[in-house]
């Protein structure tokens, strides 16, 4: 299960004069979980549709497991599962019937389809409600039913468009656990999301979309490095002191910014908590709290779009 699963080169899509995707390159290896990030209208969904062959490309090529989605769409769609944004099911049919229908479309023979459906439903913990109409399902259950469909079809690649949008925290966590489980079993997962903490917890690499291009593609650490900030953030609480003056220019400190009365955020290249503590105490301040954490993805993301939106 090694090697390149998805390869896109110079992919572009124009709608009339409007450019939705302006030429992107993407290379995804087997078993990876990739997050597609970016503001609305940045071209994430269009890219997904082009990867699946559901919309024609204006320029560029796509290969999924070595196949062209426009020339061999059936082969590609057999190996790639797609869970669209706000997935819909036939409301009047039960969850099991919905899966049975897609199994027939995929050409699975009846007996094997039944086994696979049962196994898939058990895995997403929908066995109890499998014979209830989908109209009674909550949003989280629908998303899990969508995942069950991918499991049932035994896809090697799963493309999930906004899988967690509109889900409550618990359903989100359940879905993320499922995605991680799929990835451990060797499935390549491509997911787009606005919820950055979601992407952070499951993705190996992220692609930042901006105005139809991929501005950045790599791991979170690489993203932090690329943005130029230190990878470490220290939240400081202290009294009787102006940390902005005291710590600015100290060794290892990249920047200091106030976040409230007596609170600062210090950006550093390494863990400089002892040095900070000493500086504060020596300057006569009383230290209340020092908290070290890595840069969260949403911070990196916001900073990226602040700094690079004029490029690209």
């Amino acid at each position: 299960m090694n090697g390149t699963v998805i390869e896109a080169t110079g992919l572009a899509k124009h709608y009339g004069k409007a450019v939705a995707v302006a030429g992107i390159d993407l290379r995804i290896d087997a078993g990876e979980v990739i997050g597609l990030l970016g503001p609305n209208g940045a071209g994430k969904t269009t890219t997904i549709l082009m990867l699946l062959g559901l919309t024609e490309v204006t320029r560029g090529t796509v290969r999924i497991l070595g196949r062209d989605p426009l020339r061999q769409p059936l082969e590609v769609k057999r190996t790639v599962g797609y869970l669209p944004d706000a997935v819909g099911f036939y409301e009047q049919m039960t969850g099991r019937e919905n899966l049975a229908y897609t199994a027939r479309l995929a050409g699975l023979p009846g007996e094997r389809a039944r086994e696979r459906i049962d196994a898939a439903l058990a895995k997403v913990r929908l066995s109890d409600v499998a014979d209830r109409r989908v109209s009674t399902y909550s949003r989280g259950m629908r998303q899990r039913l969508g995942i069950a469909e991918l499991l049932m079809r035994d896809c090697r690649v799963a493309i999930l468009d906004e899988p967690t949008s509109g889900l409550d925290p618990q359903s989100t966590q359940e879905l993320l656990d499922l995605i991680q489980e799929l990835s451990r079993e060797g499935m390549t997962v491509l997911l787009s999301s606005h919820m950055l903490d979601v992407v952070q917890s499951v993705c190996h690499r992220v692609a930042l979309f901006n105005k139809g291009r991929i501005g950045f593609f790599g791991t979170l650490d690489e993203l932090a490095a690329r943005i130029g900030g230190g990878a470490y953030l220290i939240d400081v609480e202290a009294e009787n002191i102006d940390l902005g003056q005291v710590a600015a220019g100290a060794e290892g400190v990249k920047s200091v910014s106030g976040t409230g009365e007596g609170r600062w955020q210090v950006e550093a290249e390494t863990d400089i908590r002892p040095r900070l503590a000493r500086l504060i105490v020596e300057a006569g301040g009383s230290l209340r709290n020092l908290d070290l954490r890595r840069m969260r993805l949403d911070e990196a993301y916001n900073r990226y779009f602040r700094e690079f939106s004029h490029e690209a």
Binding site: L54, R71, P73, L74, E75, V87, F89, Y90, Y101, G146
Partner: protein, 317 residues
């Protein structure tokens, strides 16, 4: 660019699922109840009338479908009027309904071509209409046997089956129309309204528009007797643009073995003819063959329009 794999993969699965959906939908139950009630009413009226008037007729069972007793119209005119309604009810949300339910992108991500979705939906609707028509026809025949006490003859059955096939083609025209509307109008309610207005124009208003159009195309000249014929022929040609006209001509020929022509007949053409003698079933069919071809052609044309529109549509709703 050549694509691999058959575009018909999955057609059967989609057609059967659509048919099953229609069979269990409240919409279909309501409209079939309407059709059934009117059909039974019409045939019951016809039976009463046949008992009163006809002593001996070789094609008694066909009379069952065509004879009317005031104020009820005959079974065939009922069907000609209501069948489009059934077809529209089955097809008006075929494509845009999938978008509205947000199932379209998931459906297209299955290993099937788009072609299969449209074919499957059309075949599914046609299958349901076919089953309903067959049931209706058997029911009418059964009623006839019960009340008239006679079994249908071979000729009755042959003409009945030809009539059923033509009726299916007629329903297919309206189903294709409804599906075409559903593929280029995004809101199911609007596409239903659009299809219904075409139905109203074709079945109710077309008959009023036709003489007017014909008099413009071929004006009457009081000094030229042939201009009367020219206008009549123009009128017929314009009227035949409506599937309703084609269908009623087919019905008239197939269910009345004594009918000789759907157009104007001259006395000279009737020389030597035995008036009232039945034609062979094949001969009757031959006379309305152009009409049947016309219906099938209209169905294919409308389906092609739907097909082209749907194939070019963006998936993203």
């Amino acid at each position: 660019m050549k694509r691999e794999g058959s575009p018909l993969t999955g057609v059967a699965a989609i057609a059967l699922k659509e048919a099953a959906d229609h069979m269990t939908s409240a919409r279909m139950h309501l409209i079939m109840l309407l059709v059934l009630l009117t059909a039974i009413g019409a045939v019951y009226g016809a039976i009463g009338r046949i008992r009163e008037t006809t002593a001996e007729d070789p094609f008694l069972f066909l009379k069952l479908l065509t004879v009317a007793r005031e104020p009820l119209p005959s079974f065939t005119s009922f069907l000609g009027f209501l069948l489009p309604l059934v077809a529209i009810a089955l097809g008006f949300d075929a494509i845009n309904g999938e978008f509205a339910r947000r199932t379209m992108s998931r459906l297209l991500a299955q290993p099937i071509y788009r072609d299969a979705i449209l074919f499957g939906k059309f075949l599914g609707g046609l299958l349901v209409i076919g089953i309903a028509l067959l049931t209706l026809w058997l029911l009418m025949t059964g009623l006839g046997i019960l009340f008239l006490g006679l079994p249908p003859s071979g000729g009755d059955v042959a003409r009945g089956i030809a009539y059923l096939a033509a009726t299916l083609a007629y329903a297919g025209v309206w189903l294709a129309l409804a599906i075409a509307f559903s593929s280029f109008i995004r809101s199911p309610a609007t596409s239903a309204l659009a299809a219904l207005s075409v139905w109203l124009v074709m079945t109710v208003f077309w008959g009023m528009i036709v003489p007017f159009v014909a008099s413009v195309i071929a004006p009457l000249d009081p000094l030229d007797p042939m201009s009367v014929l020219a206008q009549f022929e123009a009128q017929q040609a314009v009227a035949r643009l409506s599937p309703q006209t084609l269908y009623s001509e087919i019905t008239a020929m197939l269910l009345d073995p004594a009918a000789r022509s759907v157009g104007p007949l001259f006395l000279t053409q009737l020389q030597g003819a035995v008036i009232g003698a039945p034609l062979a079933t094949a001969d009757s069919l031959l006379i309305v063959w152009p009409q049947i071809s016309g219906l099938v052609a209209a169905m294919i044309l409308l389906f092609t329009i739907a097909y082209v529109v749907f194939q070019r549509q963006e998936v993203r709703a």
